[in-house]
Each structure stands twice: as C-alpha cells, then as structure tokens.
C-alpha cells in the first residue's frame, strides 16, 4: 500500500502543473491577499467632473463581507456623512438633514457620492465561488506585468454583472484590470489598477481608476492611504446608533 501512496505523493505536484492553474484558485489567492477578517481602510476618492474635481476622504471599518461602516472626513459638504452596511441592508446618515435613510431597491443603483461606483457595487456578500464560474482565457501582459485573463460567468441571475473579465498578476495575485459586463454583453464598468503596494498579507491595489462607461466624465480614482488588516473592531461600530454619533 505504501508504494502507490508514495508514488501519488511524488507525482501530485507534477499532475497539478500539467493540469494548469485553476481560475477559481487564482481568484481565491487574490482574495486572501486583499481581504482579512477585519480591515480598517483610510482612502480618498477623486471624482473628476466637468466643472470641478472633488476629493472625498473617508475611513472604513470592514468586518468580513457582511458588515462595514464608513465615515466621510472631507470635504466640508460631505463631512460627517456615515454609511452602515449590515448584511444586505444599507443606511446612510446625512448630518445636514440629521436623517438616517435606508438605501434599498432601485436606489442601490445610484452613484455613491457622485462617483462612478454604485451602492450595488458595495453590496455583494456572496463569495466569487458561489456566484461565478471562472475559466482562464489567456495569459496577457498588462502594464508590463504578465497576467491571467480570467472570464467569470455568473451562475445566478441576481448578480449585478453577468460577465466579468479580470486580469490577475501571475506572481503578485493582484487584479490589474477588470471589465464588468451586462447580460447583453455591454461593458458597464471598467477598473484599472494604477498602483499596487505590499502589505503583510500580500500585494494590494493601492490606486485604482473606476469608470462607469455609461456615465460622462473621466472616472473615479481611489487611493488607499492606509490599510490595516485583522484589527479588533468593537461590535458597537456596526450598530445603527453609531450613525448619529
């Protein structure tokens, strides 16, 4: 009995190599380097409009895929606005009106702070494995880096984007480019990674450009100024009462 087991053990990596890399495994590897159990992110969002460019700074506390709390720090018009996501529910507190408003239904398709990102983009809780089938289409060079071009096709109808093309760095396992498509095949959004940084978990896209192709303008740029993984976040951070504080 030992021989076959030994033989199998010896030949297992080679067999895996001959089969080629698995698309879903690559995506999982990328997820592992970018998402901890908890994370605290300080970031800025640069939105280029036709008349002005706005820079919105925010701090987010994220717990898994379910819970997140974001507080907008500047500019003055947006300062104090807070957003709480609990599962598939989303509330926004507007200090100017002193109101907590529930964002649901078709409202989720609206833009976040006038950016190219919609609330819907923040709401997906299910894992990629649950929602998409993935297959490696090709190996391509993007921004001087060799990538796997992976095509993800939605398994479920209620997914925001029915088809996703993602270019993942072959060695750093960070997405350098993404294209999000509607069921009709129309390109809806495009995401380009402009800069990456190394964290204790791996490589992380620190500057990205998000473009809603159906919207005028030059797109929205996200800059991660600080990211802390696996921090202890008190449970009260994800309570509705925090919104008005």
């Amino acid at each position: 009995m030992k021989v076959p087991i030994l033989t199998l053990a010896l030949f297992w990596p080679a067999a895996d190599l001959f089969a080629g890399p698995n698309a879903m495994e690559i995506i999982k590897q990328m997820d592992r380097s970018q998402n901890g159990d908890n994370q605290i992110i300080t970031s800025s969002m640069t939105i280029k409009g036709r008349r002005a460019t706005r820079i919105i700074e925010s701090k987010s506390w994220i717990q898994g895929k379910d819970n997140s709390f974001t507080e907008y720090l500047s500019p003055a018009r947006e300062r104090g606005t807070k957003m709480l996501k609990l599962g598939n529910r989303l509330w926004i507190y507007y200090p100017k009106a002193d109101r907590v408003v529930n964002i649901s239904g078709h409202m989720l398709r609206r833009s976040v702070m006038g950016s190219d990102m919609s609330y819907e983009d923040m709401m997906e809780r299910r894992s990629t494995e649950e929602t998409y089938d993935a297959v490696i289409e090709a190996e391509e060079e993007v921004a001087g880096r060799m990538t796997y071009r992976i095509l993800m096709t939605a398994k479920l109808e209620d997914v925001a984007y029915q088809k996703v093309k993602i270019w993942i760095d072959k060695t750093r396992f960070v997405a350098l480019k993404q294209e999000l498509y509607a069921a009709s095949g129309k390109l809806l959004k495009q995401l380009d990674t402009l800069e990456v940084m190394q964290t204790d978990r791996g490589w992380y896209p620190s500057r990205m450009k998000f473009k809603d192709t159906l919207k005028e303008g030059e797109g929205t740029e996200f800059q991660v100024t600080e990211i802390l993984f696996d921090q202890k976040i008190p449970a009260r951070r994800f309570q509705k009462g925090q919104l008005r504080r």
Partner: protein, 424 residues
C-alpha cells in the same frame, strides 16, 4: 331683383331647404373643428411654454447640445448679469430663473426611519421677489389645499404625489440628490400646500420649492438650470422671438465655452416646429376639405334642382331672359343659400363648441409619461373671433361653386327648341 330672388327661395322651399341643410351641417362641423383645434393646440402650447419651453429659454450650450433637462452640472451661473442683458434686449418680455432636478424623496415615519421613498421631480422657482412665478405658473390657481410657501424650506407638492406617499401637510421630507459638482445634496423640506396643474406629467411626482432653496440645495449660487422668457402680453405667434434669439446668441453665446448661455425659442425646442406648422396648416386643410365635399354635394343638388326647374328656366328663356342673366340669378341664389346656411351652421356649431370649452374632454387615460409636449389632462375647445367667421368661407364658397358648375346647363339649352320642349 335681389328681393325677387329672396322671395323665390322662401316660397319655394324645395329650392333652398336641402342646400341650406347641407351647408348648415358642413359649417357647423367647420366651426366646431376650428374651436376644437384652437383650444387643443392652444392649450398644448400654453402648457408646454409655461412648464417646458417658455416663449424663449436660455440654457448652457452643453445642456442644449446634450439635450438634457435639469442637470445641475450643466447649469447656468452668473444669472443676475444674464438677466440684465436679457431685459435690456427684450423689455417686452419677463425672464425667470428656474431649476429643474431629480432627487430621491425620503419620507420618515414617527421614529425617523424611512417610511416611503420615491424619485421626485423638483422645480425651484422664484416665489418671493418681483420676478416671482406665482402667476406665470398659475400656482395660486392650482393650489388645492394649504398655502403657498412663505419661508425657506417650505414646499408645494402635487396632490397626486401627496396622496400616493400618504404625506400630511406640515410633515418634513428629505431630498437627496447631486449638486452642481456631482457631490451629495441633501435637505429637509416641508410641504405646506398641495397643487394640481392638470398636466399629467407634472402632477405625478412634482415638488416645488423656492429658487433660493434650490440654489442652496445644489450649491448653485446665482445659478439655475434654465432661464425662461415670456412675452408680457402673453401673445405668442409663430417665430416671434427669432430676431431676439439671433441677437442674444450673437452677443452672449460663445461656441468655445460649453457653459456659455444659448437661447432657443419655442419652436426650436421639443420638435415643436413641425407641430406648429401642422397647426398653422390644419385649419386650411379642414376648410378646403369641407369646401370640396360640400361643393360636390351642392353641385349634385344643383343638377337635381336644374331638372326640377327645367321648365321654369325654359319659360324664362322663352320670355326673353338672357342665359347669362338666368345663370347670374342662380349664382346670387346660391350666395343667399350660403349665407343662410352659414348663419344656421355657425349657431349650430357654437353649441357643442361652447360645451367643449366649458366642460372639455378628459384624456387623462390617454396620456403617456414621456411626451415632448405638455398636454393638459382635459382638452377644451376655445371660441375666438375667428371661430365666428370660420364657417363663412366654406359656407358661401361651396354652394357658389356648386351653382357655378351645375348652372352651366343653362347655356346648353337651345332657344329654337324651347317651344317644342315646353309643348307650346
């Protein structure tokens, strides 16, 4: 001779009754159609100008180029200067800033949680200064309940919208939208009155707030998405502001600056040029159609009358009356018949026209949401001076043409055979 012919028509009813009936019927239809078309198209123009196009409207070049309405990012700014320029160019007009934008309306329950959300169309108009639009928009006439806004943060809500969301006057609602720079715009407003415009597109989900509130909400100081211009005499005629439009655009619109102002007059917006041309021509088509139909009927009637009056004409010619004189008398008779038919027909047509003017026809169910023109939900006729005269042309011309053709038979009569024909 005229008295003689008139007596003939009155005493020989067979000669006049049927033609008068035909003309009465035709003229009554023409009169009714004239009042209906004037009322329906006039109502459409009034509503469209009042709420959508103005007699002239100024927007940024970018807003016009992209054919968008109510986009704060493409709004006009520095409007006090623009208003002064407009008023010096066209003192016969009044100009008003308006801001149109869409927003999410969130109505809270007693605990402040979201009770109801809906998209709302917001119109911010001047409600307080000398340029106020209370009368232009008919806000005072449209007020169904409550009062007009007097203080900042107060609003008017359409009656249908208020009922749909179950809002009580005095309850606060939160509007959430995008400001001029694309940032978040949030504000609380308190509806203090309900209105009903009678225009389905507007009555569905409109909220009216003060101009300054709108400017504050959208971070748009001294700005507005549109400037509307109206003739003070409220009389709009085809292409009336064309010279003003050319002059304003030449002086103030810069093709290199997408945010510079550009003026368009009514027909240049919402494809109204073609509608206006159809309106201009419609009454000509209606008159021509009825003249043709009635002329054919009356020609036929004249031919039948000619057979019936064959002997009479023969005797008249035998007694020495010239063919030309007999023919002329037939034509004069036809004019009498035409005048009588026109009078009866005008009176008959005015009755339903008056009903349609006062009561109208409810077309609410036929209106769809996305129309380029604003239609009132009740189509009404409009009786004008032209309505009273609209029947004259078809009423008099049609029998005249009928007599002109049918009377030609007189010239075919052979005088030498008259005695044989008359069996003398």
């Amino acid at each position: 001779m005229i008295k003689f012919l008139a007596k003939g028509l009155l005493r020989d009813r067979a000669r006049s009754l049927f033609p008068i009936l035909v003309i009465t019927l035709g003229v009554s239809i023409v009169v009714l159609m004239n009042a209906y078309v004037t009322g329906a198209i006039g109502g459409m123009y009034r509503s469209t100008a009042r709420f959508s196009t103005g007699h002239v409207k100024v927007q940024t070049r970018a807003a016009i180029q992209e054919d968008v309405h109510g986009v704060a990012e493409l709004a006009l700014v520095g409007n006090q200067m623009t208003l002064k320029q407009l008023e010096s160019l066209a003192p016969e007009m009044s100009f008003h800033e308006r801001i149109y934008f869409g927003a999410l309306l969130d109505a809270p329950d007693d605990s402040g949680e979201t009770k109801y959300q809906s998209t709302a169309m917001i119109t911010a108009v001047d409600l307080t200064s000398k340029r106020n639009e209370i009368h232009t928009l008919g806000l005072d006439r449209s007020l169904m309940d409550g009062r007009l806004p007097r203080a900042p943060g107060e609003a008017l809500i359409t009656q249908t919208f208020q009922r749909n969301i179950g809002l009580k006057l005095g309850d606060s609602v939160t509007l959430i939208g995008a400001d001029m720079d694309g940032g978040m715009a949030v504000g609380n407003f308190t509806p203090v009155g309900t209105i009903r415009f009678g225009v389905a597109q507007l009555d569905r989900n409109t909220l009216i707030i003060g101009l300054e509130d709108g400017q504050e909400f959208l971070a748009l100081p001294d700005g507005a998405t549109e400037i509307f211009g109206f003739y003070k005499d409220d009389q709009y005629t085809y292409h009336r502001p064309e010279a003003l439009e050319k002059q304003f655009n030449q002086q103030h619109s810069d093709p290199k600056d997408e945010f510079s102002p550009q003026m368009r007059y009514l027909e240049q917006q919402n494809n109204l040029e073609s509608v206006m041309v159809i309106y201009k021509d419609m009454m000509v088509y209606i008159d021509s159609l009825f003249i043709m139909i009635m002329a054919i009927v009356l020609w036929n009637t004249g031919l039948m009358s000619g057979i019936r009056r064959y002997s009479e004409m023969g005797v008249r010619l035998a007694m020495g009356e010239t063919k030309r004189h007999a023919y002329t008398s037939l034509l004069i008779e036809s004019v009498f018949v035409g005048i009588a038919g026109t009078l009866f027909g005008t009176a008959l047509g005015l009755l339903p026209a008056y009903w349609m003017q006062e009561v109208g026809i409810d077309i609410t169910g036929m209106l769809s949401g996305d129309m380029s023109v604003m239609l009132e939900d009740r189509i009404r006729a409009q009786i004008t001076a032209a309505t009273y005269f609209s029947g004259i042309l078809p009423g008099v011309v049609a029998p005249f043409i009928g007599a002109l053709i049918s009377g030609l038979g007189i010239f075919r009569r052979d005088t030498s055979r008259l005695f044989v024909e008359l069996e003398v």
